[in-house]
Symmetry: C2
Subunit: 310 residues, 2 copies
């Protein structure tokens, strides 16, 4: 594939420009914020680097789209993709970032941070013993790059990590791999549930009563996609103690509307989609590496299977 | 050494009894709460298992004292020890427990928990990027069992871990080992400081202006002993941003008096000496293993050097 004209459309276009222009490539670039995009730019470009596609434009000249995010549902979910267009996605320290995010909230729970914070306000000296993470069972939905890094970090701390995989294929660092069909009977033994799945037809509203009803006072962490969660069902599960607490980084609607009941639920911790941020430095590095691989006709490990959606 | 009569004096004497009697050893045991201890028991006993020694008793018949805690300052600090008496201490999952305690508070800081909690109260959706732990430098005072386990856990996450050792002896899992004399010039580059040192003459009020003045907005975690901290100096360092926050599990006086300024300092998190609890199960297991080693004349890895104080 011959890529000459590259259009970078992103809120962080200035920072990306700095890192990309350092390389002094023999390519033509245009760097734009999303609100300045025009059809003229898209007609000019062979390649588009962006977090998403805007409706109402003709993308038919573009041969390669590189997603600045890890998730590509904004490009594929409930959309038709032209199979002749290459789609790649950013893979960088997302796995490490999401593993540390998840670990931080699980350790906070095991180490009773909220309890000791409350006691301090009351000047109360009452000993309670934190739990060791090695005694915990963690179920990770998704065994790709991100799920595997979670499994690597957690298993190094002695955690029993079980994966749920759509394919059921064996992956390193997991003690067991279950499939969506086979995993229901195991849910009650899990202390923590972490969702890392991409949003596809198969994962939309996957976390509904059928899963929550099997849980027994588990902690639930969602770092996948908000639309994989049936929000009504989650609120009910929190209310009925199947879910003891939820840490949510992704939501059906982002930013979350002010009247959403999650904001005020004391068992819900909200973070504003920050568990796997693409920094300009890492985003530029992954794009540049992908471009080099395309120019040199090398295999692309970050190529998206547009039928599968990830 | 011939041990026949063993006196177990502890607030958890009932739980210890359960685990110890399971073994059906050919020894005589007495299990007592601290308030029921009498001179008669101490005259009877060859061995004493306890968290501490009570004043005003004659211990001269006791040949072996086993500390139920990891720290033995309650036995040795500012006291005279009869060198003919064997002193051993409990070593169990303390290292793992303290590593997870420390990790939980460092990840909480890096992942901006307090910031996102505050934002949630205000229903504010404002993205900030957490920091990766692999970009941090952590200085651990003490390179014994506990310091080494901290180094092992943190280095597995990519942290640059530096140890401060009284002897300067090389230990695994540390990137560098500094001595007390040589370490001052390196303090400004450290993101987090963790004290695990035992309380001895050398470590009393070790954390004073001389150390704090070199720090640059570091997080300070004390899981060693409270008396190693000059509390006035720490309050000043918090006030002047040399120390950004302190997580304190140990104090000069425990329980902390109600009028202590730490309680209300928003930069101080207090926990009531729970980072390395001896559970009855682990306490009993370590005692039983030590007893077996004594009976079989095996080397004792948990023997205390009473001159050094650890």
């Amino acid at each position: 594939m011959n890529i000459k004209n590259i259009l970078v459309v992103s809120p962080m276009y200035k920072e990306l420009r700095l890192f990309i222009e350092k390389e002094a490539l023999h390519k033509s670039f245009r760097f734009l914020p999303e609100e300045e995009l025009s059809q003229n730019d898209l007609t000019w470009a062979d390649a588009l680097v962006s977090f998403n596609l805007k409706a109402d434009y003709d993308y038919s000249n573009v041969k390669w789209v590189h997603s600045l995010g890890a998730g590509v549902d904004r490009f594929l979910h409930k959309k038709v993709w032209n199979e002749e267009v290459l789609l790649t996605r950013t893979i960088c320290s997302f796995g490490q970032r999401i593993a540390e995010y998840s670990l931080s909230y699980i350790l906070r729970d095991l180490q009773l941070h909220d309890n000791f914070q409350k006691q301090q306000q009351q000047k109360s000296w009452e000993q309670r013993t934190p739990k060791l993470i090695a005694d915990q069972k963690v179920l990770v939905y998704g065994t790709g790059e991100i799920g595997q890094m979670i499994a690597k970090v957690f298993s190094s701390l002695g955690v029993y990590v079980v994966g749920v995989s759509l394919s059921g294929t064996w992956k390193d660092y997991f003690q067991e791999i279950l499939t969506l069909d086979s995993h229901f009977s195991r849910l009650s033994e899990m202390n923590y549930i972490i969702n890392t799945l991409p949003l596809t037809e198969k994962t939309e509203k996957l976390f509904n009563h059928a899963i929550y009803n099997q849980l027994s006072n588990a902690g639930f962490i969602n770092v996948g996609r908000g639309a994989s969660v049936d929000e009504e069902a989650l609120l009910q599960a929190l209310n009925e103690n199947q879910v003891r607490f939820a840490v949510l980084d992704v939501f059906v609607n982002e930013p979350m509307p002010e009247n959403h009941p999650f904001w005020c639920n004391p068992r819900v911790q909200i973070t504003p989609h920050i568990s796997a941020v693409t920094t300009p430095e890492e985003g530029a590095a992954c794009f540049l590496k992908t471009l080099k691989n395309i120019d040199e006709n090398q295999p692309l490990s970050n190529r998206v299977d547009t039928k599968k959606g990830y």
